[in-house]
Symmetry: C2
């Protein structure tokens, strides 16, 4: 693959998650720009099925730090919770006296999840273009009941991802991704990936041995296996909590 003079591509290829920040909050203007970048992303059937909660209350931030097991989020320059949202469209249906059934379906839940995740990535890309950095956190799912309560989320909304943004206080090494032939296929899925995975395991092992800090013995496969062991009983309530918010999932 040719190297590129394209500054956007260079930025995308250099993404890394930032977990240590300088003590400096984002300005209101910066936050507005990140939200505007989110809003201009693609949205399924132009239905804008997500909302963004900026969390600035220290007590809520502290609790989110405990829920996510990432207490360092309290020291970020700004924290967003990205919320799948069919509540707004439900109000439109109710005011018009129209049957809102469709909004409760698996299809519309997934559409809201897509909108939310796509908008989330635009915030990350926008932030990095502003010399900021951050981490997208699925770990707010550790206790969705409590997040819903803290942020007073109404029916047909669901908190999906947190984003901690700030001025980077370090620059972690770039983790090597798997070879494209392991995840990019032509016309049909290629299930026989074993040998290529072995090569990737070697590459990851070498990365962890050589990187600047926190060196360890780990391959991609051993990482996946440790993930499997770790989270067996975590988030067992996730499906029921989504349903409790009014998404039918059936």
């Amino acid at each position: 693959m040719a190297t590129t003079n394209n500054s956007v591509l260079r930025q995308l290829m250099n993404h890394r998650s930032i977990r240590r920040f300088k003590e400096r909050s984002l300005t209101e203007d910066q936050v507005d720009q990140l939200v505007a970048a989110a809003q201009h992303a693609s949205t399924s059937t132009f239905s804008q099925q997500y909302s963004i909660i900026s969390v600035t209350d220290p007590a809520i931030l502290h609790e989110l730090g405990q829920i996510t097991l990432h207490p360092w989020l309290e020291k970020s320059g700004h924290y967003f919770v990205m919320v799948a949202d069919q509540f707004r469209n439900l109000q439109i249906a109710k005011r018009a006296g129209v049957d809102p059934f469709t909004l409760h379906t698996t299809d519309k839940f997934l559409a809201a999840v897509f909108d939310t995740a796509i908008a989330t990535e635009n915030i990350m890309v926008a932030a990095e273009s502003m010399d900021l950095g951050g981490t997208i956190m699925g770990s707010i799912l550790n206790d969705t009941k409590r997040v819903i309560e803290l942020l007073q989320l109404p029916e047909l909304t669901f908190p999906l991802l947190g984003i901690a943004i700030g001025y980077p206080a370090d620059e972690p090494d770039l983790k090597p991704r798997m070879a494209a032939n392991l995840m990019h296929f032509q016309n049909r899925y290629r299930p026989d990936q074993g040998d290529d995975l072995k090569a990737y395991d070697k590459l990851i092992a070498s990365y962890y041995q050589k990187r600047g800090s926190n060196r360890r013995t780990e391959t991609f496969s051993s990482h996946i296996l440790s993930e499997l062991g770790r989270s067996h009983q975590v988030r067992a309530d996730l499906f029921d909590n989504i349903k409790d918010q009014g998404f039918l999932l059936n």
Copy 2:
């Protein structure tokens, strides 16, 4: 909000979906760059839980055009199907003789959906930086059984989004997004959105009256209501089809 000299922000703010393309295919190098941009996006627990199928077979493209009701996708410069993927990690678990239960959970399904949607947006951002354009399509969900069959997708994978990319043959008007105060909140959700929605309805009505082509009478609310009527019985099989691929969703 201040105007910006930041070229990435300018690009993000100017996104529009492109549905008409010049007759020119992407080069292999361009496709590789788009895939690399996807790969460098954030991925939940660094588990890279998605795969990308490049569809170049005219017969499959034709059928995807019929399924999505977007036959113009056959005339795009390149077509991707983005696939949530825990199959790869399942193979790692099987080879190691480790219980793969976690991979079947709602939590790991959602993680794969996040990874897929986030990678999808990176492809769109990368494409636009290369003077390409395109459309992200949730409409491959219209017939997931058939998409799974066409692309020979194994267990613990699921097709989520299509992306048609190419050289833009037109520049549609930029659709105004809702005011940020309708979707960006501080610390807690604000459910009383009625008056602000009315103002947005006026803005959208004015946009559709004034835009360059395909003028019509429509507000955001009327658009949402027509969506509710249109898709009542569509994709009724979505939930069952996800479960049939091995995701437990319980």
